[in-house]
Symmetry: C2
Subunit: 353 residues, 2 copies
C-alpha cells in the first residue's frame, strides 16, 4: 500500500479528510446565515472537488477564467458564475456558446464588456446573467460608485439577451455591505430587481453575514487552507489540507538547509500585505524560515531551531498560497491521514484563457 512517505519529492498532497471538514464547515456557516455558497474552483482546479462542494450544498460554482468554466461544464456543472471581466469578441462568442449548454452568469464593470457579450449572445440566440462588478475598497476591478453601478445595471437590463443578475464584489471588506446596499437601493429605485449580491474572499468569509447586504458567498481557498489563512486565523493547522512533501537535499552549513521545492513547486507568492520573508511553513520545524526560493530550491534558515534535519530527511511544507501552488502541478496525491494514497490530475491547471 502506497503511503505519503513512498512518494517521490517534491509532491503536492491533499488530505481529503481535512477537505471534507473544510467544506462542511463553510457550508454550515452559509446555511446558518441563509447565504448561497458558490465555491471558487480556481483554488483546486479539479471537477472532483467541485463535485464534493456541490453535493454538500453549494448553489453552483465560481470560475475565474472562461477556460475553467468550459472544463467544468464539460464535467457536468450547470450553474456557473465567471467573475472575471470577459472582454473582446472571441471571449464573448465562447461565453455565448457556453450559455447554450449551462446556466451562466458573468461579472464585469464596463459597458464595453456588456455590449460585446450581449451582441454575441444575440448572434447565438443564447442568454446569460450579468453581475455588476463593484470596487468596494480593494482597488482592482469594479465600478467606483453606487451611482455608476446603477447606471451599468440599467444598461445591462436594456441590452438584449442579457439579464441583470445583481451585484458582486471581491473581496468583501469592511464597508462593502453598506456600499452594495446603497447601490441596490439606487437600482431598485429604477424599478429593477437585484436578485443576488455576491461577495468573495476566504479570510473574512465568516463576517460576511454581518452587514445583511449579501445573499451569496464566493470562497476558494477555504477548501485547502494555506499559510496565509493560517496567519489570518482563518484555518487551523490540522485543516491545512494542501501540503508539499519535500526532501532535504543539502545541509551546507549548521544553520542552512536546502529543500527540493522552490518557486516552481510552491510559487513565489507571499502572504498579501505581510512580507515576512517566509515562503511556506515547514511543519516539522515550525521555527525554521523558508527565507528564499530559487526555481527548484528552498533555502531554509534553521538558526532558530533546536532540532535540525539531515540530508535525506523528508519534510512537509504548507504553501503560502494554495491556489498558486496547485496551478503548478499536473499531479497531486490524495490521501486520508497519510494513507489510501491515490494520484489525481489537475484538469483545469493552466487554463488562463
Amino acid at each position: 500500500m502506497v503511503t505519503i512517505s513512498d512518494l517521490p519529492t517534491p509532491f503536492l498532497t491533499v488530505d481529503l479528510d481535512a477537505v471534507d471538514r473544510n467544506i462542511a464547515r463553510m457550508q454550515r456557516y452559509c446555511d446558518e446565515h441563509e447565504l448561497a455558497l458558490r465555491p471558487h474552483v480556481k483554488t483546486h482546479k479539479m471537477p472532483a472537488l467541485a463535485r464534493l462542494q456541490v453535493v454538500a450544498g453549494a448553489r453552483g460554482i465560481t470560475c475565474q477564467k472562461l477556460g475553467e468554466a468550459e472544463l467544468m461544464a464539460d464535467n457536468g456543472f450547470d450553474d456557473i458564475l465567471i467573475t472575471f471581466p470577459l472582454v473582446g469578441t472571441g471571449k464573448a462568442e465562447r461565453l455565448a456558446d457556453l450559455a447554450g449548454r449551462v446556466r451562466v452568469a458573468v461579472g464585469a464593470d464596463s459597458d464595453v464588456a456588456a455590449r460585446t457579450i450581449s451582441a454575441a449572445l444575440q448572434a447565438r440566440g443564447t442568454a446569460a446573467a450579468f453581475l455588476v462588478d463593484c470596487d468596494t475598497g480593494f482597488r482592482r476591478t469594479g465600478v467606483q460608485t453606487p451611482d455608476d453601478a446603477a447606471a451599468l445595471a440599467e444598461l445591462v437590463e436594456r441590452l438584449p439577451h442579457l439579464e441583470l443578475g445583481g451585484l458582486m464584489t471581491h473581496p468583501a471588506v469592511r464597508g462593502s455591505g453598506e456600499w452594495l446596499a446603497a447601490a441596490r437601493r439606487l437600482i431598485e429605485q429604477r424599478g429593477l430587481e437585484v436578485a443576488c449580491v455576491s461577495g468573495g474572499g476566504t479570510p473574512h468569509a465568516r463576517e460576511i453575514h454581518e452587514s445583511g447586504a449579501f445573499t451569496e458567498l464566493r470562497v476558494g481557498t477555504y477548501v485547502f487552507g494555506d499559510r496565509h489563512l493560517l496567519g489570518e486565523g482563518a484555518v487551523a493547522l490540522d485543516d491545512c489540507a494542501l501540503r508539499v512533501v519535500a526532501t532535504v537535499v543539502s545541509r551546507p552549513t549548521a544553520d542552512r538547509a536546502i529543500l527540493d521545492a522552490g518557486s516552481k513547486t510552491l510559487t513565489s507568492d507571499l502572504p498579501p500585505g505581510r512580507d515576512d520573508g517566509g515562503y511556506g511553513l515547514l511543519v516539522e520545524y515550525p521555527e525554521a524560515v523558508l527565507a528564499s526560493l530559487s526555481e527548484e530550491h528552498a533555502t531554509v534558515d534553521l538558526s532558530a531551531c533546536e532540532e535540525r534535519p539531515a540530508v535525506g530527511d523528508v519534510v512537509t511544507v504548507i504553501p503560502n498560497h494554495a491556489c498558486g501552488a496547485v496551478n503548478l502541478h499536473d499531479q497531486v496525491a490524495f490521501h486520508r491521514g497519510g494513507r489510501d494514497v491515490e494520484i489525481g490530475g489537475v484538469p483545469a491547471r493552466g487554463l488562463v484563457r
Copy 2:
C-alpha cells in the same frame, strides 16, 4: 494567416528571430574565450529550443531536475549535466537508469548523495560523472571551503562507478574564480584531474572568462531575456524574445488599468534584490507600473503615463522572470516578428521531480 494579434489572451509568445540572435551571441562569446557552453533547459523546457542551442555549438545541456533530463534524453540529447543534488534511493536509481542511455553528470555537495548514487550505479552496472558543487558566495547549496571540495572530490574518485567530473558553482560571482582555482589546486595536489570547472548564471555570464578559472558556462535565461536581465543591462529590449500578449479588461479609474495576466500567467517573481514593485514591463506604456498581481489580474498604475490604454486594447508584457513564466504555460506561440505564428507545447513544464 494567424498573427500575434489574432491570439486569444493572455498568451505567451516567443520571437524565434530574437532567440536565434541570443543563442548566436552567447555561443560566439564562449567560442571566443574557449569556454564550453552548456545551456540550461529549465528556462525554455522545450527540446526544440535545446536542439537550436546544440546545433549552434553547445557542448551538451544542463537540466535542473531528473524529470527534465529524462525527457531530454527521450528527445535525443545524449550529454546531460543535472545541477540539482539528487538525494534518495529513488532518484539515484532513476539516474542510474538514465546513465545507461546517455552520458550523464550530476552536481552535488554531500557524501550522502555521492554514496547513494554510486550504489545505484553499481547495482545497475552504469557510470556517471560527479561534479563537486561549491558555494562560492551565493549561499545556497555547495561545499563551504576549497578543502571541503577536495575532500569530497577524493571520496567521489574512490566510489565505484562514479567518476570525478570536476567542480561547479552557481552563480559565478565576484571571487568565484579564485575560490574554484584554489579548490582545483588542492584536488590536483592529490593527484586527481579536474576536467571541468563549470559556472552558471546569465546576468554576469560575459565576465566569466576573466578569472581564467572556468572551462564551461551554464546559462538559461539568455535564450529569452526578461525584465530582470533588461534591468541588469544583460539583454536589449529587442532581444527580449518572451512576451505575454494581454488584454486591458477594466479601466476602473483614470490611473488604473487591469490586464488579464496575473500571477498564474507571469509568476509573482520579482527581480532578485530589486523589489521595485513591478511585476513586468508593459512594452507599449513603459512608464506604467505593474503594481500588483492577483492570480488572473495585473493591476497597472498609469499615473506616470501620458497616453493610456482603453478597455479592449491588447498590450504586451515582458515578464520579470522568463523561467518561471514559461513553467506556467502548456502552450506558447512561436513567431518571427509577429508573423508565421505556430503554437507549440512546453514538454518539460512542471517536471519538478
